[in-house]
């Protein structure tokens, strides 16, 4: 594959309303490509690994900007940048989990232009797929990563159905932990999907990472008040501390009363194609003291059902250790 490294000849639409954007998206369907910050767009296009015919630039839609307080929590416009998430007082004050996750995305330069919507809707991590090979996820009929000698160090431990790529999103697991709601607009109507159901695995739809259909736009993310000011834990382990995808990340939100965990949401990133809700852990720690002993008792549950590949066994102790930290509450 030659490296092209220039944009292909393609159309550009710059709508200023959601309705217009959705109309254009519907018109072009799979031939169109929504772009916000563009951080998971231009590489695909310059490599000719994806070949849409038109770009639909959403940056002119003012209604998709800003962070607002609502009756039940907050609403984050889809175009809010990751840097804004790390500095906005509503986020840092009440939902520091999201601020921390956003602050660990890629690099400062990418966070300055990358958006919350782009971060959750970005494509998966698999170097074969991102190289432009025509694998299952690209609509092909095989996987190059999960093979006897496949180089799959970064790949999935769980729920790999033919495709073993993992979610690359740092904010996705945090939003699932916060029980966020994703607001999806199709131009005429709006539907709201929980963050947990927003992401889809390869068993359901091997060529997409979210429930978004052609013609639909993620316009906002709502975070309910339920988890405001809860006890949070976020940690991302990547090879490098900047400009790197997670090897494994953990996002946790807990309600703790007198040292006892009343309710919790634990979600791991980079262990399967979607954020992985650790409901067994959540059940196991309910009503238990938030301490090292509880953490030691439950952490191993996190890796039950893992199916490691050739080079990713290390993710099992790593996931277990990060769960342990999240439950005990410190590194």
């Amino acid at each position: 594959m030659s490296s092209h490294d220039v944009m292909p000849d393609m159309g550009l639409y710059q709508p200023v309303t959601v309705e217009d954007a959705a109309g254009i998206a519907r018109q072009f369907s799979t031939r169109g490509w929504l772009v916000g910050g563009g951080q998971d767009t231009y590489g695909w296009l310059k490599d000719r690994a994806k070949r849409p015919e038109v770009l639909i630039d959403l940056k002119g839609i003012e209604s998709m900007r800003g962070i607002r307080e609502t009756a039940d929590g907050i609403e984050i416009g889809a175009l809010v940048t990751l840097t804004e998430l790390t500095t906005n007082s509503l986020i840092t004050g009440r939902y520091s989990l999201l601020a921390e996750a956003a602050g660990r995305v890629a690099s400062p330069q990418i966070r300055n232009v990358g958006t919350i919507a782009g971060n959750v809707a970005q494509d998966v991590r698999c170097w074969y797929y991102r190289r432009g090979l025509n694998c299952y996820r690209a609509g092909g009929n095989l996987c190059y990563a999960d093979t006897p000698e496949g180089m799959n160090r970064e790949h999935a431990l769980f729920n790999a159905s033919r495709c073993v790529a993992v979610t690359a999103s740092d904010t996705g697991p945090a939003l699932v932990a916060l029980e966020a709601q994703m607001v999806i607009h199709n131009g005429s109507s709006e539907r709201v999907v929980s963050a947990e159901n927003f992401f889809v695995g390869p068993n359901i739809d091997i060529t997409h990472t979210t429930v978004l259909r052609p013609g639909e736009i993620l316009t906002a993310v709502r975070i309910p008040a339920k988890w405001a000011n809860a006890e949070f834990y976020f940690e991302k382990v990547a090879d490098r501390n900047v400009w790197d995808f997670a090897l494994v990340s953990i996002s946790a939100a807990m309600r703790v009363n007198n040292g006892v965990i009343e309710e919790s949401r634990l979600v791991a990133g980079a262990v399967e194609a979607t954020p992985r809700r650790l409901d067994r852990i959540e059940q196991a720690i309910r009503g238990k003291a938030r301490n090292q002993q509880t953490a030691d008792e439950v952490a191993a549950l996190a890796i039950q059902g893992a199916r490691p590949l050739n080079f990713n066994h290390f993710k099992m102790p790593l996931l277990e250790n990060l769960v342990n930290r999240a439950v005990r509450g410190h590194a």
């Binding site: 490296s3 000719r48 690099s107 093979t147 180089m151 090879d239 090897l247 790593l318």
Partner: protein, 813 residues
């Protein structure tokens, strides 16, 4: 010795441009009528081009031409061809270039070109081709043959061919298991002393296998070139580490008389050894522009740069080290299989040489070979051989030291190369060494003894590790030319053919001329970076070579200027030449300083006198490049040009020692570097900021080599996994300590007029070695026997799950 300029900071003239973004690199230049060329690269790891159908592409509006291997002089393996045809040997290898009115058209055209390939077997791990029956990377074999002899390693100079070398399955199995393979053939071999007898006298003997994985250079500035031809001259905007040393070579490559080649390269965004000399792709840029008779830019993309931008060789090896009861290294036996990629050479002998100088073994034997694989071509990368050896050697020597009950710094101190040190198979001498003092200086600045006493367990999940590492590279040559011109306005134009590869050494070395001339730096003008600036034949910028070599050249040019000024003054004011002195930018009679000329006046006199004073006559021993420059400037001032014939004996060494303290998280496999201390032994410091930059930059890359960067190939299809810069993982700001301590012994080398030697390469070697040592220390001396050591390896080790890659596999996770 008190210097005017040496040892003092200054602001090199290119700094402002780099900070403000106005500095221009090859890719920034445009020319009226310029066309854009782009490469079509191979999708297959091994094979040949059967046919090319470019008719559809050539029929596209805006496409102006195609350039293939048929348009270049023929080349035969193992030479690395600019464009492949009969021997495709790696994925990403350029096949052809297409030129068009825009880059977009060129890229669209590339997609319309149909190529029929014939595929051949391929291999990405040297041991997989070495085994009997294993696939060969070239149809004719897997190793370099020199003049028909079964010798391997080195460069791809003419008189070389590709041959075959194979081991039995038992020998491979033995080597993979960490044992020396009995009876196996090697490509090269050297030894000194009685190895077996010396091992017999050792009380501690250890044997260890090791693997170092190669890594791409990924120079931040890719090797884009722009060329145009006017009035028979070729103007070439390129990106090289060295400005003039490759002039004749580049002229041959683009098929022009050297006198008609103008090479322009004011700034180079890194080369790290991959741009020391002209590289094959430059031939395409120059010749394609000529064929089209239009200015042409051949832009090399980031991915192209990964493929053709060179990479460090990897090693698969075995070492046996013996310590005597006094801690001295009695004997070393080492065997190295070098991964030379699809071309270039491995560096096994240099790696062994590192062991020989740093530990001064009484006896030593090296056996090695260089094997090709269907991975990217390899070449010199910052301390080739030495630095990867330093990386794996450090924890291995730590193990030996621990077994012998020695402190790790003490072990180094006992064996440290002093002024009488000997190096390599011929046990040659060195110019000087204050390295033992450097170890002491580092231990004190780092606080080795205090840190050694600290508890290893910091918290339930954090452990401390401290390590020491050593770097070495030869650091100086001689025989190059110095050139300067004193203009009638009194400005001193210091001409240099040293490339500006970002280290500021091109400017720092000229300070030696200013020092010798006793002139103010503000009155000096640096002439560099453009062939029409009339540059001398200067040394190559590689191998930590520039500082020593070019301070000598600058010095001899200044001496030539002084001689000429004194002669002119003596002729006019009477007395002998030796009766005259210089100072305050004047030449004057020592006994009566009113009798003399300013530098401006003497320049005017030189013009009037002509002859050797203003460049009409020049020394015959000057290089042709220098001669042309002198001729071009004749009559414009006092011209001083001289070849460095100052005495030089033995190897000029550059040494560095580093100490690292890390805090390793046993739950994540990650670590923080708490303290980094690097001490250079590079003679006199000529530019403190430049030295700090070298030590910090080398240190950072050393961390990358130790913990992040490597080639990864899928053995099933020959595809590289980490082409992009983000996948290649050079360390980032948050992966390195905020403050890195550095220093130098600052003692003069007697063979340099200003006492200085280079340090570029040891600065990386000491860092990678120290970090490897610290990681091992944090894990109770565990040896991974491999670089890099990544977080997953540490986690697997702690989990004791046996999933770490073993069996000397390379180019893998």
């Amino acid at each position: 010795m008190t210097f005017m300029h040496i040892g003092k900071d200054f602001t090199p003239p290119d700094v402002e441009g780099k900070v403000t973004g106005t500095a221009r690199y090859a890719e920034d230049f445009r020319r009226d009528g310029m066309v854009f060329a782009r490469l079509l690269t191979s999708p297959i790891p091994s094979g040949r081009v059967v046919s090319i159908d470019a008719s559809e592409a050539l029929a596209m509006p805006g496409v102006v031409g195609i350039f293939t291997a048929d348009d270049l002089p023929p080349s035969a393996p193992p030479a690395n061809p600019a464009l492949a045809k009969d021997f495709i040997t790696y994925v990403g290898q350029p096949i052809l270039a297409v030129a068009a009115e825009s880059e977009e058209i060129a890229e669209a055209a590339i997609e319309r070109i149909a190529i029929e390939f014939e595929r051949r077997p391929f291999v990405v791990d040297p041991l997989d081709t070495l085994v009997e029956g294993g696939p060969d990377p070239y149809p004719m074999g897997n190793t370099l043959i020199r003049e028909g002899a079964a010798a391997a390693a080195g460069t791809t100079a003419s008189g070389t061919a590709v041959g075959s070398i194979k081991w039995t399955r038992d020998q491979i199995a033995s080597f993979r298991a960490g044992r020396f393979p009995t009876g196996a053939p090697w490509g090269e071999e050297w030894a000194y002393g009685d190895v077996d007898a010396n091992f017999a006298q050792c009380t501690t003997v250890i044997e260890e296998p090791f693997v170092t994985i190669g890594l791409p250079h990924h120079s931040l500035e890719s090797r884009t070139g722009m060329a145009y031809w006017e009035n028979g001259k070729c103007y070439f905007h390129g990106s090289l580490q060295s400005q003039t040393v490759g002039h004749a070579q580049l002229a041959r490559m683009v098929d022009v008389d050297p006198a008609n080649l103008v090479f322009i390269n004011e700034n180079t965004g890194g080369g790290f050894g991959s741009k020391i000399f002209p590289y094959p792709m430059m031939a395409v840029t120059g010749r394609f522009a000529k064929a089209l008779n239009r200015p042409l830019q051949l832009r090399i993309t980031r991915a192209d740069e990964f493929y053709i931008g060179s990479a460090r060789s990897g090693m698969q090896g075995w070492i046996k080290v013996g310590l005597r009861d006094n801690g001295r290294v009695g004997a070393v036996d080492i065997a190295i299989i070098g991964d030379a990629g699809s071309g270039g050479g491995a560096s096994g002998s240099s790696a062994a040489e590192h062991v020989s100088i740093m530990y001064q073994p009484e006896a030593m034997r090296y056996r090695g070979m260089s094997l090709y694989t269907n991975t990217t071509p390899r070449g010199a990368q910052r301390g080739p051989g030495q630095n990867e050896m330093a990386a794996v050697l450090s924890p291995i020597m730590d193990k030996a030291g621990r077994q012998a009950g020695l402190d790790l710094v003490e072990l180094r101190r006992i064996n440290a190369p002093g002024p009488d040190a000997l190096i390599g198979p011929r046990q040659g001498t060195i110019s000087s060494s204050y390295y033992p003092q450097a170890i002491d200086q580092a231990a004190e600045l780092f606080g080795w003894e205090a840190k050694k006493a600290l508890p290893r367990q910091i918290s339930a999940t954090k452990v401390r590790g401290i390590g020491v590492g050593e770097g070495y590279h030869s650091a100086g040559a001689s025989g190059y030319d110095g050139l300067l011109r004193i203009a009638p306005d009194g400005k001193i134009h210091l001409h240099t053919g040293v490339g500006n590869l970002g280290t500021y050494s091109y400017a720092a070395v000229l300070r030696a001329a200013a020092e010798t001339l006793q002139c103010s730096w503000e009155n000096c003008v640096i002439e560099h970076g453009h062939g029409e600036n009339h540059l001398p034949h200067s040394t190559y910028q590689g191998g930590s070579n520039t500082i020593f070599t070019e301070t000598r050249s600058s010095h001899v040019a200044a001496l030539d200027a002084i001689r000429k000024m004194k002669q002119i003054a003596a002729a006019d004011f009477g007395g002998a030449v030796d009766d005259y002195s210089i100072g305050g930018e004047r030449v004057f009679l020592s006994s009566d300083n009113s009798k003399g000329y300013t530098y401006a006046e003497v320049a005017q006199k030189a013009i009037e006198l002509g002859g050797e004073y203003s460049g009409q006559v020049f020394a015959e021993d000057l290089n042709d490049t220098t001669k042309r420059s002198v001729q071009a400037m004749q009559g414009t001032g006092l011209i001083a040009a001289a070849k460095d014939t100052l005495p030089k004996t033995g190897t000029t060494p550059g040494f560095a020692v580093a100490m690292v303290e890390i805090e390793l998280d046993t739950e994540t496999g990650k670590f923080d570097i708490l303290d980094y201390t690097g001490i250079a032994e590079c003679g006199t410091i000529i530019h403190p900021k430049g030295l700090r930059q070298a030590m910090n930059g080398g240190g950072v890359w050393g961390f990358g080599m130790a913990a992040y960067e490597r080639h990864v190939y899928d053995p099933q299809n020959g595809l590289p996994a980490n082409v992009g810069l983000y996948q290649a993982k050079p360390p980032t700001y948050l992966d390195v300590p905020l403050h890195m301590k550095s220093g130098a012994t600052d003692m003069p080398d007697p063979q340099s007029p200003v006492g200085s030697r280079g340090i570029g390469e040891p600065s990386q070697g000491c860092a990678v070695a120290a970090l490897m040592s610290a990681i091992s220390d944090a894990l109770d001396g565990h040896l991974f026997n491999r670089t890099p050591v990544t977080a997953d390896m540490i986690l697997n080790h702690i989990a004791q799950n046996d999933f770490n890659t073993g069996d000397l596999k390379t180019n893998t996770f």
